[in-house]
Amino acid sequence: MALNGSLQGYILVALLLFVIGLATVLLRRTLLMQFMGVELMLNAANVALLAFSRFRGGDATGTVFYLFILGVAACEAAIGLALVIALFRHRQTTDADRADSLKQ
């Protein structure tokens, strides 16, 4: 199995990125770190998408969908960070475990 520059190699890189992002979201408690994990998972999807587009002979549809993902990621960044700031204003914390008043 030759990974250097093959489609399988790119998909494996995307898979590793996704797994690391998932681990960041599930195992870290800081909301900002979890946010970065989400960004990492979105990037993993981008790598897979553009790798498939390249191995279809340079299809432009992959890049168009990459643009859409980019727009959604920008929206997610704005809203997510606004939520973190709003939480900090009420609780003086960015820890996900400390934002649990629905459980009490």
Partner: protein, 163 residues
């Protein structure tokens, strides 16, 4: 080249995952985004590489770092209570997911067959992206514009003290 950029990407992501300081973690993530941009260059897609650096490293990560500095929360706060079972079950599930997905990708005959064809590749340029975008995906383009507007209004509404 692929191996260099793949290593930069993966090592940056791992460094981000285990980093205690949130600011340093953000900078590791910027490194990862540069690695991903390099991967896009190797994929004959300079448009996506430029967008990756401008939007991800330039806009989104700067926004995140500004927020970290604004809230002045550089370090992870100590846990209220240790939750060892949840953490180990989470790590175990991630490991199982990763191992199975790795086996599927590495053992896939269809993916390996794509490599052998070696299609002639036309490099991506803005003309082709624009034609494809405005000829076939105009509705998606408009919806993204609306979504960005809604996100902007929402972000202002969420962070403003009194409207």
């Amino acid at each position: 080249m692929f191996l260099i950029f793949a290593l930069i990407t993966i090592l940056g992501a791992l460094a981000m995952f285990q980093q205690k300081n949130v600011i340093v973690a953000g900078l590791c993530l910027v490194l990862t985004f540069f690695g991903v941009a390099g991967l896009f260059l190797v994929l004959a897609n300079p448009v996506a590489a430029a967008l990756q650096i401008i939007v991800y490293s330039g806009a989104i990560m700067v926004l995140v770092l500004f927020t970290i500095m604004l809230l002045n929360s550089h370090e992870e706060e100590p846990a209220i209570k240790a939750r060892p079972i949840q953490r180990w079950v989470g790590a175990l599930l991630i490991a199982i997911f990763g191992a199975f997905a790795f086996r599927i990708v590495a053992g896939s005959k269809a993916l390996a067959a794509v490599n052998d064809k070696a299609l002639p590749v036309e490099g991506m340029n803005l003309n082709r992206v624009g034609e494809e975008l405005f000829a076939n995906h105009l509705l998606g383009f408009e919806i993204i514009g609306l979504l960005l507007l809604a996100a902007m209004v929402g972000a202002v509404a969420l962070t403003k003290k009194e409207l």
